[in-house]
């Protein structure tokens, strides 16, 4: 694709900035944002503490007490992005890892599968099959540690969020809404349609790589039986 241009740089207070590339979700733009975020991270700019790729742009979180923190951080942030953009576009390697997540789509775990099937005019089995067949990409992480918003959902499965969120969605719940899928890293309140559950631990602060998923990762789901779910749950 053509090299996208930043629409602007928006201060998130005086210690962070959001460099916006698109006000709507564009998967191609997002893929550039992911490359760009990694390129900037690798440059280890001492006054940039965190680079957060988001759906339509990326945030740079500053360390304003650092000796090299620039007098005009917005201008410097934008210059850093523009300069890294060329490098990111030239990079041949695909950013992110390939991750396979086992999912049990059995009714016991798939609270909203029947409802989604009804809305999509498909059988529950067909919904699970289409969800499993998708190739997904982590577009952004947020809401909770390890919680990834993934794009690439079958258009037939586009359903809105539930009218009222559940007070507690169990950890590992695989859910869909609009054009995305997510996996709840731990029991938390949430409004997405739950269609299965993974036995994998999405976020564990005691691991060296605490999160199973990272921005830009390519994700596939693999349907597993209840028995396999239970045995994997024991070992993870």
């Amino acid at each position: 694709m053509a090299q996208p241009r930043p629409l602007g740089v928006i201060p998130l207070g005086d210690s962070a900035a959001y460099v916006e590339f698109s006000a709507t979700l564009d998967l191609e733009v997002n893929s550039v944002v992911q490359r760009l975020a990694l390129t900037i991270l690798k440059r280890n700019v001492p006054w940039v503490r965190d680079v957060v790729p988001a759906l339509g742009g990326l945030a740079l979180h500053f360390d304003p007490d650092h000796a090299e923190f620039p007098a005009k951080p917005l201008e410097e942030a934008l210059a850093l992005v523009v300069d890294s953009l060329k490098q990111a576009m030239a990079a041949k390697d695909n950013p992110g890892s390939e991750v396979e997540l086992p999912v049990c789509y059995e009714p016991e775990f798939a609270f909203d599968l029947a409802e989604v099937a009804k809305k999509a005019d498909l059988s529950p089995e067909e919904v699970a099959k289409r969800h499993e067949a998708g190739e997904y990409r982590v577009l952004m992480m947020g809401f909770a540690p390890g919680h990834a918003y993934m794009g690439g959902l079958d258009a037939k499965l586009t359903v809105p969020r539930r009218a009222s969120p559940r007070a507690i969605v169990p950890a590992g719940s695989v859910a869909i809404a609009n054009e995305q899928t997510v996996v709840y890293p731990y029991a938390i309140s949430g409004g997405w349609n739950v269609i299965g559950r993974t036995p994998m631990v999405l976020f564990d602060a005691t691991r060296t790589r605490p999160s199973l998923l990272w921005p830009g990762d390519r994700v596939r789901f693999r349907a597993i039986s209840r028995a396999e779910f239970l045995s994997l749950q024991k070992s993870s």
Partner: protein
């Protein structure tokens, strides 16, 4: 030998300067709500400013020091017979009874050498939503025992220049406490400020907001007139920051605090100047705040001024410990 919790208080957690570098996987830095008072408390007992201390909230704990402990309390003023903002040598067996906050909402109890809790992802901060970090990933409970990392309390205290009856005659300045309410908090306009209707734009700056009771370390809900946008279109979810002020469809603004979510889909009407976040953190539920608009440049100046005030106070304390000016 260690510190025993006789009464935990309302919300007492181990906090340091937070864990940075994981916002891209959805983990906020967290850490002390008022890092300025944390740094002062640490300096008073001879610790590095970012060492972990106990963050106490509105109702303080009762602690039993099972060995000689050099301790300091900084931040909000709490009822109790101990002096604030000073190093205090508490002999073994001291019951350290902290009552209610009388001014401000949060204070830090630092002990010389720090608490012996393991760092998780580079920080000893308790992250309550994820149940990790600090002491077993949770707020302290009755009967908890926290080990101290070293036993040099008396030696450290002896290094202080002028001491009397287990404390000193001077005190560190409170840098984040409100002298009156409403407190004035500076903000710059948020990305979506212009999408709010003109009444809401005015109301945001004209209102004396109150911190709602359902506020916590993740965010402060602000009671006042509901804010609205003429075109209530959904915005694309994007990154947030400590001090972002979001407005969900209910119209009730939420100021994002230490344990905030790292992304959000609600419009952001304002971003709080980082120098003023620690001051906002000193409001208890019911506390009053008024917002004033400033430029990004002014926000930067406020931050540098606040930094300079803190550093000057830290230098003053270090001098009492024998450091050269």
């Amino acid at each position: 030998m260690s510190v025993r919790v006789l009464r935990p208080g309302l919300l007492t957690t181990v906090q340091d300067h937070g864990r940075h570098g994981f916002q891209r996987v959805g983990l906020c830095p967290g850490g002390a709500m008022d890092p300025v008072s944390l740094a002062l408390a640490n300096a008073l007992v001879g610790n590095p400013p970012e060492e972990a201390a106990l963050e106490i909230t509105v109702i303080g704990p009762e602690l039993l020091f099972e060995r000689d402990t050099l301790v300091a309390v900084c931040g909000a003023e709490f009822q109790g017979s101990f002096p604030h903002n000073r190093p205090v040598l508490a002999p073994a067996g001291t019951r350290f009874n902290v009552g209610r906050a009388t001014r401000g909402a949060r204070a830090y109890i630092a002990v010389a050498g720090g608490f012996a809790v393991d760092p998780v992802l580079g920080s000893r901060s308790t992250y309550l939503p994820g149940r990790f970090g600090g002491f077993e990933g949770r707020a302290l409970k009755h009967g908890d025992v926290l080990a101290l990392r070293d036993g040099s309390a008396a030696k450290k205290f002896a290094a202080l220049k002028k001491t009397r009856e287990g404390t000193v005659k001077w005190s560190a300045p409170p840098l984040t406490l409100p002298d009156r309410e409403p407190i004035l908090v500076h903000v710059i306009e948020g990305q979506h400020f212009a999408s709010f209707d003109s009444n809401s734009q005015r109301a945001f700056f004209d209102t004396v907001w109150r911190v709602a009771p359902d506020s916590n370390r993740m965010g402060f809900r602000l009671s006042g007139p509901p804010l609205g946008r003429p075109q209530a279109d959904e915005i694309l979810s994007g990154p947030t920051c400590l001090g972002s002020v979001q407005v969900p469809p209910s119209g009730v603004p939420i100021a994002l605090m230490a344990d905030h979510q790292t992304t959000g889909g609600y419009p952001r009407i304002a971003e709080i100047a980082s120098a003023d976040v620690a001051r906002l953190a000193q409001l208890a539920p019911g506390g009053k705040v008024h917002f004033a608009k400033c430029s990004l440049e002014i926000a930067g100046e406020l931050r540098r001024d606040a930094r300079e005030r803190l550093e000057s106070a830290l230098r003053g304390i270090a001098w009492e410990y024998g450091a050269k000016k």
